[in-house]
């Protein structure tokens, strides 16, 4: 997985981590959102956003809490949850349900929707995107006069490796 060639000024402004993707854009989306809602850009919120966008994977709330403990900025569990809520509201983060008791989250890169293949043995998650699939779903919605906001396709089963071990 290639890292971005350079760290954006805004990213370094937030301090720490190794930002991934269009971090600056995401940051300004969040800022705009905060302003619009009369909310404040606190150290804790910066730390959470920074931590989430400094890695590409899916994560659990508890995991994020742990990751943040290794940071200079202390952030309580409550604040982590509250910030995740905000980030979902402005569509920078999506909550995922992989059938496990805890929710997963992932940060969203606008225009880069993908779905998930979830290995029920090893828990590994493969992301994929398929244009024909997306188009087909639009057709289906049109059929029902249903106005989609978002969707989620999860395919559960065994990944290649786990399936081989079954043989």
């Amino acid at each position: 997985m290639a890292k971005p060639s350079s760290t954006s000024p805004v990213a370094s402004l937030l301090g720490g981590g190794e930002p991934v993707g269009n971090f600056a854009a995401n940051k300004s989306i969040f800022l705009a959102f905060l302003v619009r809602k009369n909310l404040k850009l606190t150290r804790q919120r910066q730390a959470v956003v920074n931590e989430i966008f400094s890695d590409n994977g899916h994560f659990e709330a508890e995991e994020l809490v742990e990751r943040l403990k290794k940071t200079r900025t202390r952030v309580s569990r409550a604040t982590v949850y509250r910030t995740l809520e905000l980030l979902q509201e402005c569509q920078l983060v999506e909550k995922l349900d992989f059938g496990t008791p805890r929710s997963f989250y992932e940060h969203v890169f606008p225009g880069q929707h993908h779905d998930h293949l979830i290995c029920t043995r090893c828990g590994n998650v493969i992301e994929f995107h398929n244009d024909r699939l997306e188009a087909l779903q639009q057709d289906i919605c049109a059929n029902f006069d249903f106005h989609e906001s978002h969707h989620s396709l999860r395919i559960f089963g065994l990944c290649s490796k786990c399936h081989q071990q079954t043989q």
Copy 2:
């Protein structure tokens, strides 16, 4: 929604309710499962199965508990959860996540997989099935050498009625 033209002998054996779909077949699947696992067909389990298969919709655990209270057979919440677990194991019931805090469940009619359009305003759920969609998913799995056991596509948005009210 048409009701089945006749009540199966097995269904009436379980007592009460108005069975829907191939109730007898489902019942024997459950029985076979119990036998295979050395489990017993208790009054409580019968009542739960009967209640679930006497209606077509999605339901929450708590709702099922309530429905069962109106039945002659008393079934504790614990037993309801334990029986739902068993029914998932033998694939007669699926747990659904519509993004609400509580899980929904629905009974599965073998060979009648469907996906869901979920209205985020009124909570209404539309079921649909699309062969091309299924085929496409198989292609995708093949591409990744992924061995699917099941999948779940949820499309969130506004149903026709709710969308009109927005205008």
